[in-house]
């Protein structure tokens, strides 16, 4: 919240009734300012105070939800120009374009790739979220058939692309309760499409030739009560798109321009015919401020790097991804399987467990909570030394699971082995390899 606790306090009833869960209005104001409480918890707020506080707490770039239920994808809600200043909030949605004049085979192929190219990594599911359906045929029944097909076959949010109000109306008639994104409102069609968007309360994209056009359109939409807006500046050169993205983010954040405070969409599919280049452009706008990125097709070799990069840049710089402290069984370990210990940085866990798996030797992997720091970082920060590892090994219960007493530690903390043997007199401390990649060869020769 960009407003201080004291400023909030001034707007509260000051009766200290305690119904919000904390004893005083002041305490509640402080929790609100720190983002630890919700406005709705105080039942006695005046209408005026509520509006003011809501206004103050809305991020400079509105958060917009596309789709519903388990397919809902949030975009926008951003508060910074650079991720280290706080973090990037909502990763851009990756959309796959299907147009109604494609052959059935082409359509089916895209639907299949959209559904199958899903990846698990460090505990997260990575996938495309939106199918963008373009009405190219000008034939309402053809368009509706495509939408129906996609709704039946895919778990996806939907975006409808057309500038013809009749086609959009036809499309909405079959999918409006899925909360699709309507693309796009232009200067020419704006009356009719605003009416459509209001009627089905769906988010809409505005498209202009310039940012001036955009400001005019978003202002109009706001006046008619449509707030869930996405901006398409219509730029087609990579250079111009970058300028627009930066300009919009700056205007919203630094100049508090409400009329540009919306997430953006970049139609990368229209910028090149080369799939690899398409992925490169998409990657650039993952970093530089797109809210939705539309691709012409998906393939493993282009989508996987893009999705992983997106996850990386949208991770919280203040809080590395961490895995829970625990004993992880890899394969089907028994009482004579090797025991390895490492930190709880997700990337480390991910690499080490993967290497143990590929060794085809079952084992126990002990994950010690190091607040998400890697082996050496945690060691340097005093969170992965002999004392902390020893107390974890004692309390985690691994001694009941294995008969031997050999503990493999990462090669990079070899220096701790002596102290560990002192702290864990029952155990033999074995220094493993330094690189994760050398674990399989190492485990293959391991004996209890």
């Amino acid at each position: 919240m960009a407003i201080t606790g004291i400023e909030i306090f001034k707007l509260l009833p000051k009766t200290n009734c305690g119904e919000c869960g904390v004893p005083t209005c002041l305490a509640f104001a402080m929790s609100l300012a720190a983002g630890k409480a919700e406005l709705a918890k105080c039942p006695y707020l005046s209408e005026e105070a509520r509006n003011k506080l809501e206004e103050a707490s809305t991020p400079p770039i509105r958060m917009v939800t596309i789709g519903k239920g388990e397919n809902a994808k949030k975009i926008g809600g951003e508060t910074v120009m650079f991720r280290h200043e706080k973090r990037f909030e909502n990763a851009p949605a990756i959309a796959l374009l299907i147009s109604d004049d494609m052959t059935e085979t082409a359509i089916d192929g895209r639907i299949e790739r959209f559904s199958n190219l899903v990846y698990e990594r460090v505990g997260q599911t990575l996938r495309g979220e939106i199918i963008a359906l373009k009405c190219q045929s000008g034939d309402a029944s053809k368009y509706k058939a495509l939408i129906n097909k996609v709704m039946q076959k895919c778990k996806a949010s939907i975006m409808l692309i057309s500038e013809n109000p009749d086609m959009l109306a036809a499309g909405l008639s079959v999918c409006s309760d899925m909360r699709p994104l309507i693309h796009a409102v232009t200067k020419e069609n704006c009356e009719k499409i605003i009416a459509l968007a209001k009627e089905c309360s769906c988010p809409v994209a505005v498209k202009g030739e310039s940012i001036d056009d955009i400001i005019e359109l978003t202002t109009r939409l706001e006046q008619s009560g449509v707030k869930d807006i996405v901006i398409d500046t219509g730029a087609s050169s990579i250079q111009k798109v970058l300028q627009d993205q930066v300009a919009i983010r700056r205007a919203a954040l630094n100049q508090k321009m409400r009329s540009l405070g919306y997430p953006t969409i970049v139609l990368v599919n229209e910028m090149t015919d080369d799939p690899l280049k398409e992925a490169m452009i998409a990657a650039t706008f993952v970093a530089k401020y797109a809210g939705i990125i539309v691709l012409s097709d998906f393939s493993g070799e282009t989508l996987f790097p893009l999705l992983v990069l997106r996850m990386n840049l949208f991770s919280d710089p203040q809080r590395p991804l961490a895995t829970d402290e625990d004993i992880y069984e890899i394969g089907c370990p028994d009482e004579s399987s090797p025991v390895l210990v490492t930190c709880n940085f997700s990337l480390t866990y991910f690499i080490v467990s993967g290497e143990i798996e590929s060794s085809r030797v079952s084992g126990y992997l002990l994950i010690k909570d190091t607040e998400g720091l890697s082996v050496m970082t945690a060691w340097a920060a005093g969170k992965f030394g002999a004392d902390t590892i020893a107390s974890f090994v004692k309390k985690c219960g691994i001694a009941d699971k294995v008969k031997h007493r050999k503990l493999i530690i990462p090669g990079y903390i070899a220096i701790e082995s002596g102290a560990l043997e002192d702290e864990l007199p029952d155990w033999e401390i074995v220094v493993g390899p330094r690189e994760g990649a050398h674990i399989p060869a190492y485990l293959k020769t391991w004996k209890a």
Binding site: S237, Q239, V246, E301, F304, L309, G354
Partner: protein, 317 residues
């Protein structure tokens, strides 16, 4: 009302540094705005690509990485020539992986001899990259600097643990140096100050912030580069106003995903294209943050990055 891109206040600029010998020089740096923000200010020198060459035939490289260099992979000088003649490398980076004490442990003299051969064969600025083993790099890089006196090489990585023993020779022999620190703006600045105290001139320093690839912590590298650039350009932090060099190829190609064959995991798509894209996208992401020199490997990855750079700066070409 006419909308204008909101301006931000820049207060400093990156030093322009000329690398290489008089006949074959290249200038990097000089930016006075964020990368590719050509609407704020022109970008006087676009990021350049240094192509990798190895002093020994690489072991366990992915098939796709070997393929373009099959015919020259045993001869670093020919390899370098091929990069320049065929792939138009703007710089060459000779990786001295053969000197690694955990590997072949080649001697300083042997390394210097290889460097000399490559240096005589190329007509572009030459980067010499050690193994980041302080003792070994001290021996190797000192010898290299002496043998190639006057060639204006770019040598690195110089780290907190060995800069004192390498920088004096490098400067005396007329080379530039790469100041390397582990993903931390304060450590980067600190090392530059120490190098300055040691008498290293400001126009001889490149920053290596330490980088990692997509899926292996690229976000740390991305943010530290952005922070260094912001401090240099908006806070006029003189000790961070150096061009940035990123040794990204090796980081990318050593990852599991760059090596997994197509058949092993079909969801990851075509192995060759995937690896190329992992390299190109990693490099491009670092360029978007502020890299001036990208050390790269695969010709097709390089082509993709070059095209993106040209497109992003199309209004000034």
């Amino acid at each position: 009302m006419f909308f204008k891109t909101p301006e931000i206040q820049y207060n400093g600029s990156i030093r322009e540094i000329t690398l290489g010998s008089v006949e074959n020089s290249i200038t990097v740096g000089g930016e006075s705005a964020f990368p590719f923000h050509t609407f704020d200010a022109p970008m006087p020198h676009l990021p350049v690509i240094a192509m990798e060459v190895y002093d020994v035939k690489p072991e366990d490289w992915a098939e796709a990485a070997i393929e373009p260099f099959k015919d020259v992979i045993n001869d670093p000088a020919k390899w370098a020539k091929k990069c320049i003649d065929e792939y138009k490398a703007e710089m060459i980076c000779l990786q001295l992986s053969g000197t690694d004490p955990n590997g072949l442990d080649r001697s300083a003299d042997e390394a210097a001899e290889t460097v000399k051969k490559v240096a005589d064969a190329v007509n572009v600025p030459l980067i010499i990259w050690g193994t980041a083993n302080h003792e070994k790099d001290t021996a190797v890089l000192n010898r290299v600097c002496q043998v190639c006196k006057g060639k204006n090489l770019i040598v690195g990585p110089l780290e907190e643990g060995d800069y004192k023993n390498i920088a004096p020779t490098a400067i005396e022999c007329g080379h530039s140096i790469i100041a390397s620190s582990p993903i931390d703006i304060n450590l980067a600045k600190q090392l530059n100050i120490l190098l300055g105290n040691l008498g290293v001139p400001d126009d001889k320093i490149l920053i290596d912030p330490t980088v990692s690839s997509i899926g292996y912590g690229i976000e740390y590298a991305y943010s530290v580069i952005e922070r260094i650039r912001i401090a240099a350009l908006t806070q006029n932090d003189k000790k961070l106003q150096f061009p940035i060099i990123c040794n990204i190829a090796a980081e990318t190609w050593k990852t599991k995903e760059a090596k997994t064959p197509t058949a092993e995991n079909p969801a990851l798509g075509d192995a060759k294209k995937r690896a190329i894209l992992l390299e190109a996208m990693s490099a491009m992401t670092l360029a978007t943050a502020g890299a001036d020199i990208l050390i790269m490997r695969h010709p097709e990855a390089i082509k993709l990055v070059r095209e993106m750079i040209a497109d992003l700066a199309s209004n000034q070409l």
